[in-house]
């Protein structure tokens, strides 16, 4: 009976592999060799540079690269040359943690921009905090990252080295709920999430506010982000009689989900957070995506006067990939680190002090400047003080801003 036991082994392997999926780590480009005169300061980047979410990740990397190039060109910090070291986390928490360890080990790294995913941030925060290395995320929206796991009742900052330029789900979910209920006049929602930290958190804050406003949640569903077949879910949505779908998750699943829901005959808009605010969402969702909505942090980058320069410079550098949803925030995150380094260097007679990392983390708290996305500064939890959000809708195959505003409790 040899083959039968072989089948048993392989079946077990298969089941294990289903949960693990392909892992591995691939180094991004960049590097940390110091060359030329003066001091070299490396700004680390951690983002998914390959795989499903690479469109967002590469936008982050390029924007940080642009900030670094701008600082070097302007000689923003006298005697200091900035470099980036971009590592690929493949949207896997284990890779993220490895990258964090690697960045900590490089003594020239004084700040890190990233990651994209909230669940990866969870795996990195402690590594960075133990090394006193400042981390600024352009995209994490989970409230617990800055306000502790009991953020709804008792806010407590877990890591003093973690900052973000993005607004939290605690604001984004309710903001979407208000728009859907008050402006789009939808009363019956079907809530779907992907069970990840980001998606589930967003879906929960949306549902709570939607119910508070008087709306009805007619069904909930959690999808498996590894598959592309959502036909069974789409059929459930159709028969639930919902007039809108809220999806907490990211565009690689949201695109096909939107498409399959409409194909199943439920002609209702899909609403999501900044994780679906990507041109790739429209590409994957196809022609029926028209009318789908996404909230994203900040005012539309293209409309801010401060952002015009960023957009122009980004184009001039000739990056192959678009800056995507987080480009402006990534630029501002990198620039915040550069500002903090400048302050530390200025306070120390133009040289980097011995405990540069701790000093930079300290200086970060007081950083304040006019960035691409508006005024950039951080509150006592490390959250951005800029709480602006924008609703975008799909029209003629592109995201168009529908409404900007700030959410007030």
């Amino acid at each position: 009976m040899r083959q039968r036991s072989l089948i048993a082994i392989t079946a077990a392997l298969a089941a294990g592999a289903l949960t693990l999926t392909a892992c591995g780590s691939r180094d991004g480009d960049g590097g940390s060799d110091s060359s030329g005169g003066g001091t070299t300061v490396v700004i680390g980047v951690d983002a998914p540079l390959t795989g499903d979410l690479s469109a967002l990740g590469l936008g982050i990397k390029n924007s940080v690269d642009l900030a670094v190039k701008t600082a070097n060109k302007e000689k923003f910090v006298e005697g200091v040359t900035f470099k980036i070291e971009a590592l690929d986390d493949q949207a896997q928490p284990s890779s993220g943690q490895q990258n964090a360890t690697k960045l900590v080990a490089n003594k020239d790294v004084l700040g890190v921009v990233g990651p994209l995913n909230s669940n990866i941030a969870e795996s990195m925060q402690k590594v960075f905090d133990d090394a006193n290395l400042v981390e600024v995320s352009p995209a994490n929206t989970n409230p617990a990252l800055t306000q502790g796991p009991d953020w709804q009742t008792k806010k407590e900052r877990p890591y003093k080295s973690y900052f973000r330029t993005a607004t939290t789900d605690a604001i984004q979910g309710p903001f979407a709920a208000q728009y859907v209920y008050n402006d789009a006049k939808k009363k019956k929602v079907f809530v779907i999430d992907d069970k990840k930290t980001y998606g589930a958190g967003l879906a929960a804050t949306f549902s709570a506010e939607f119910k508070k406003l008087g709306g009805q949640v007619v069904g909930t569903e959690h999808i498996d982000p590894e598959t592309k077949d959502f036909s069974a879910v789409a059929t459930k949505v159709k028969s639930s009689g919902a007039d809108v779908v809220y999806y907490g998750g990211e565009y690689p699943q949201a695109g096909p989900l939107s498409k399959q829901i409409k194909a199943a005959g439920a002609n209702i808009p899909l609403v999501g957070g900044d994780g679906i605010y990507s041109a790739d969402f429209i590409k994957l969702a196809g022609a029926t995506a028209t009318g789908d909505l996404a909230t994203s942090v900040g005012a539309p980058v293209e409309e801010l006067p401060s952002a015009k320069e960023f957009v122009a410079n980004y184009k001039a550098e000739g990056y192959k990939e678009a800056y995507e949803a987080y480009g402006g925030y990534s630029y501002d995150s990198a620039w915040a680190i550069i500002e903090a380094v400048k302050k530390v260097v200025d306070d120390n007679n133009g040289e980097l002090p011995e405990d540069a990392r701790a000093k930079v983390t300290e200086a970060m708290q007081g950083v304040s400047f006019d960035g691409v996305t508006g005024k950039v500064s951080f509150d006592e939890f490390g959250d951005a003080t800029n709480k602006q959000l924008t609703v975008y809708s799909v029209e003629n195959g592109a995201w168009k801003p529908a409404k900007s505003g700030t959410y007030e409790g």
């Binding site: 079946a11 959690h222 999808i223 592309k228 994957l284």
Partner: protein, 310 residues
């Protein structure tokens, strides 16, 4: 609204795709007792082959009705070339090695193929859109069938019929059966077993390519990782139906697809089972089903034809 008919159709469509891919696992296993874990990637390169024909070979704006047969042929050719190449250079040198050696080789080949497409196919680092059939969905009673699913609906039964005819009626097909029963005796009777093995790989690859084109049309995209999970599901389907049995592969696929659709739709309605019913639990229920079937029928639903060779 009663959603049962629609959910059954959803499950059968998904299951047909599993079945098409499962045939490749089961045929290769039936003949050389190798679980070809790279078969999911053969499926993937089939999809990319078809896409290449559409994007780079045919002139822009070619009607999909003209393009589809050519894409299908292109996908099949690419899949067969990769599968036969893998057999010749990766598996054949290991034919007499212990069983685990080719198994590990297959896993390595699977990763290598994924990474090769990731690295060298233009824009393959994220999903690439696949051409879509125009036109609205068809309504049959309360059941909606997408235009993209029509291909699968037609191709799966035709593929099965062709395969059954081939295996039962042709000389090569009977040679395959003989090799599956006893390769040494088959060789003594004048069957070129090396050729038969190549044919088994090629046939499996061709069906996987048909499945990949169906996947592209159904979901509107192909990507370098698409064969990984689907390959595992297809392997599960092959075991469920009875590995080594081609009808079992198809049946296993259908059962698995329906089980996933129904568990997504109905388990959450059972009182107290609310949190186990969402689609993220569909895999769990699929494997529960597999375990149950293997407990009571270790040979799979239709039984393995080659059980006597253990």
């Amino acid at each position: 609204m009663n959603e049962l008919p629609q959910q059954l159709v959803n499950g059968l469509l998904l299951g047909s795709m599993y079945g098409l891919v499962a045939i490749g696992y089961t045929m290769v296993y039936g003949i050389v007792q190798l679980i070809n874990f790279a078969h999911g990637e053969i499926f993937m390169v089939g999809g990319f082959g078809a896409l290449t024909v559409y994007l780079y070979v045919l002139p822009d704006g070619t009607s999909l009705w003209v393009a589809l047969p050519l894409m299908l042929i292109g996908g099949i050719i690419v899949a067969i070339l990769v599968a036969v190449g893998a057999e010749r250079f990766a598996y054949r040198p290991l034919r007499t090695a212990p069983r685990l050696a080719p198994l590990i080789t297959a896993i390595g080949l699977s990763l290598a193929l994924q990474q090769a497409v990731w690295a060298w196919y233009p824009d393959a680092r994220s999903a690439i859109t696949f051409p879509q059939i125009d036109g609205g969905p068809f309504e049959i009673g309360s059941v909606t069938i997408q235009t993209g699913d029509i291909f699968l609906l037609v191709a799966a039964p035709i593929s099965m019929a062709i395969l059954a005819y081939f295996v039962m009626k042709t000389r090569t097909g009977r040679g395959m059966q003989a090799t599956a029963q006893d390769p040494d005796t088959a060789k003594l009777m004048g069957i070129n077993t090396d050729r038969i093995i190549v044919v088994a790989f090629a046939l499996g690859a061709a069906f996987a390519a048909v499945g990949a084109v169906a996947y592209g049309l159904k979901y509107g995209e192909v990507q370098f990782r698409m064969g990984f999970i689907l390959g595992l599901k297809a392997f599960t389907a092959a075991v469920l139906g009875g590995i080594g049995n081609i009808y079992g592969a198809m049946l296993g696929g259908l059962v698995l697809g329906v089980a996933e659709a129904l568990s997504t739709a109905y388990i959450s309605d059972i009182p107290g089972m609310d949190q186990f019913g969402s689609q993220s639990w569909a895999n769990v229920w699929a494997f529960v089903l597999l375990i149950l079937v293997l407990l009571f029928r270790p040979q799979g639903l239709l039984g393995e034809r080659v059980a006597d060779r253990a």
